[in-house]
Symmetry: D2
Subunit: 309 residues, 4 copies
């Protein structure tokens, strides 16, 4: 039942999925099915679950397992599912990753733990993690705005050279356009392995990032059909057409992309679109107030108008 595993050539749109809850905060398994169907219907290439947007650190281990299995069962091997495995303890990280792979995951995503400073510290942490995850395809989540850890291009090159199971970079350092170019220049010159790069940050710079050589997006933008269409057009050679599609959604994308707060916006849009039953975020987490709701009404109405043009 397991889909193909992720690898260096993985391309497309991997949607970051939230975890749906009921109004009382309990795990909502019916919405889990609905959400998976919603994304499949929008044409995504794959899924990433139990990441930051998935509120993974607020679930119990039992809830994580339950959610993971439900998701994988619903997808039924039709598409790859990457599972967030970041953990303050490496033993727990490895154990959870192995369990996820046995359950049918296509790979795991790991971010550096907070507190790593120098190049050698970041390298040493991943040296241990990637060694212990031997045989499991790993996506490196490079998100310094949240982790406080800055991963240099040099460290990525060293890790790419040393660990064949590092197959993907979730790129969301910002600003980070030049980082993409540097990574691609090296593999283009044949000086190192080319790995898959999918971009995060809500896709805020997706057209520019595609032009610089990324393979797609991995983000939770609540209109994933836009990301799918942008990538489709771009890889079909229609760069300007891809950007035209993107630009129409940009106003709401940049609104949803507000760090922390945007999280609640995203769940509310998914609720309005019928993908989940409630927009509940577990405590601690952002909440929309009436003024925020009104603002979202206005932005969604403007998008509807544009899409009808």
């Amino acid at each position: 039942m397991a889909a193909e595993r992720i690898n260096e050539s993985t391309r497309g749109v991997y949607v970051i999925s939230p975890t749906p809850f009921g109004e009382d905060g309990s795990l909502d398994l019916a919405s889990t099915d609905r959400l998976a169907d919603f994304y499949l219907d929008k044409g995504v290439t794959g899924f990433t679950i139990l990441g930051i947007l998935g509120e993974a650190t607020k679930l119990t281990p039992d809830e994580s397992r339950l959610f993971l299995h439900r998701y994988l069962k619903r997808i039924g091997g039709a598409k790859p599912v990457i599972v967030g495995a970041s953990n303050p303890g490496t033993d727990n990280l490895v154990r959870f990753s192995q369990g996820a792979m046995e359950a049918g995951a296509a790979g795991v995503m790991v971010a550096p733990i907070p507190g790593l400073r120098t190049d050698d510290q970041v390298y040493a942490y991943f040296e241990t993690v990637l060694s212990r995850l031997e045989g499991i395809p790993v996506c490196y989540q490079d998100y310094p705005q949240t982790t406080g850890v800055w991963t240099s291009v040099a460290v990525l090159h060293r890790l790419i050279d040393a660990f064949p199971n590092l197959v993907m970079l979730k790129h969301e350092e910002s600003p980070g356009l030049t980082k993409i170019t540097k990574l691609r220049e090296r593999s283009d010159k044949g000086e190192g392995r080319r790995i898959s790069i999918l971009v995060g940050n809500g896709g805020l710079h997706l057209p520019q990032e595609l032009r610089r050589g990324v393979d797609g997006a991995m983000t939770g933008f609540a209109y994933p059909e836009m990301l799918v269409e942008v990538c489709r057009r771009f890889f079909d050679g229609d760069k300007e057409g891809a950007e035209d599609v993107f630009d129409r959604y940009l106003p709401i994308l940049r609104h949803e992309q507000q760090l922390g707060f945007g999280f609640a916006v995203r769940k509310e849009i998914l609720r309005r679109r019928g993908a989940i039953a409630t927009a509940h975020v577990r405590h601690p987490g952002p909440k929309l107030n009436p003024r925020d709701i009104q603002e979202l009404d206005e932005l969604m109405a403007r998008l509807d108008t544009k899409l009808k043009d």
Copy 2:
């Protein structure tokens, strides 16, 4: 020759001006005149000089004075000029502010010094600064992404109540939409003085911020005519029309808005538009490489096309 001073009712677009340099890094006074003219021509309401974009900390005190006087002379009192006065030492801050006001500035802008943590620490710092700047209209620069200092709504309320010379907030905390609403709710209820709020962050959320009650923008976006037109339409009651104008520029605005890096993009656009002779940024500072230049070509070409539609 001095224009009116800023006050609680100040409204419109205050453009944040860079400091133009020659290729050799020396102060370019001819471009200073040209830049001031360019902004006047685009219809800005006022100016802010010697801020972060103005590379103030990389000038010598003599250069700061020279630039300030040249700018004020060129504007000739036609429009208000706010002068950045943040300084690690309060004596220097006060002395420089007094000099700027004597030279004809309309007010000064001050950000909290790095290292302030709690509400009381932020308040205590500004208590001293605002006391010592008595009689000088002050704009509070609230930019935690750069200063690392988070100013609560509660602290702003306390300062507004205690210091009549605090007349303006440069709002650029992000996310920060709710902060605007909270500030306006209090003055709307008559529970405190209403001060001017101009938004920064390149204007990334300007339409939403205007709807929440701000008085305009204070930012260095290299197409200030857009900001002017958005504000004009908005204050004329055409909210949707304002947002339509905004949306056309949003792709390049969000590109220019990359923290740190965007700085070099901005100077390069101003150079291309004939406002300054070179895009030189003093060391340490960002620099565009050929790939960045090509990307900017593409984005500017797309904007041109849209503006012709």
Copy 3:
């Protein structure tokens, strides 16, 4: 079998206990018993387990429960045991706290989650946590060097006034001597409830902190008998005698007090003293190299010499 719960009058030395592991990293329950006995033998007033030193975030939930029950069983109600309950999710925090109290804990310790900035944000987080922990005595861990969250005296006063279950402050902001004085001045004037204050940071400033009004120490210093003796002398009125004892241990205390690294030093000293079988720290964590070991030999030898004088 449960000891008395902690309350506003709690005084003495609460030792922060590490979690002992075998060489293979597995939980070492035999050493758990030995460690508890060691501390009892040194005369501590109480215990704090599953904190940062306890590597709580690197245990599985099952290991946490197992360790907690083993510890409580060994102590057998002879002394109070506080249990670290900090958690990224509030539901998990509350559930775990309730379980710990049912198992016989004397209270729980909670630190603010990373990312809280302003006074109101810190207050709001604890407002929820303390409300949901109603009826459970809570120790507030105030350790900004690790959490990045700075709790003002004003916030503590508000929380003390609103939540009777906030009975203790683990004070380890540094520098933080004035904070103690401000907290005590208010309750001395009768303007607010007096709560227990125990100091952390290895006890680096313990004599000065006692003179400013704290009730003792809560720290993992590997010679807890010194903390016990210092507090005994101090509360017996012999302030200078207390400080004399302290000063003899200060060289090794300040060595052990190195943030992060000191953690490994502490476990190694405890191993040498026969309290635990191995000094193993789970990954990621600090490790002593041969040069570090030699240095510790020298410092421990110097302490032995001094104690013989």
Copy 4:
């Protein structure tokens, strides 16, 4: 009149000097002379002025020059004087450094600017700075607790290999003992140039740092005669005797070593010792309250008693 310049073999105690002010905050030149004499009398090897303790960023450029010249004149070439030259702008940094050298300085000290993250970013910054300071001996101030910039051993090795004018490291990363060992191991193996290492952090770990191979201390501890005596004994082969001297001062040293706050303690002790006329610190800066003063009385009295034993 200039003393010898610093170089890779520089050894001893370089005292970090504060800048003395009058009660009204003005530069106190008489105290400047007195302070220089005080330090000479205590046997220091050299001086460092206009650093963080020197409140350099709160002086006007004219005050900096005036103070620098007065200091150099008073020392009269008897001892080397290093001048702090860190600056947000590299042009200003270079210009000031050249002026200081012309005035008779023995070298300059430069810290990385805030905001540098990866190894390559730190290297690139110093590559430019050290190139532009060619011919001027430079001390690298490695103080991440204040700058937020973490310099790896790998970066230091690269800089040592590439820039002969990098002759000294002011080591104050904390914890940082292993960093010293790694730097020394490389030069001991003949794999790179050996540079001078002087330690900061008030000398908190000086005996251990000397044993690991540093050449002395560069710090503002208000009893520099202790640092001098510790180094003298250590380099005479009496390691234990050196540490005995150190331990007697450790209680007050660790009190003075409180980040930020200790600054005011230090100036107050220097005032009491007759080295400066007032303990005034310019705004913004720490201030001692009556309770702090009383605490210092107690600690100084205890030191006096110990020294008489």
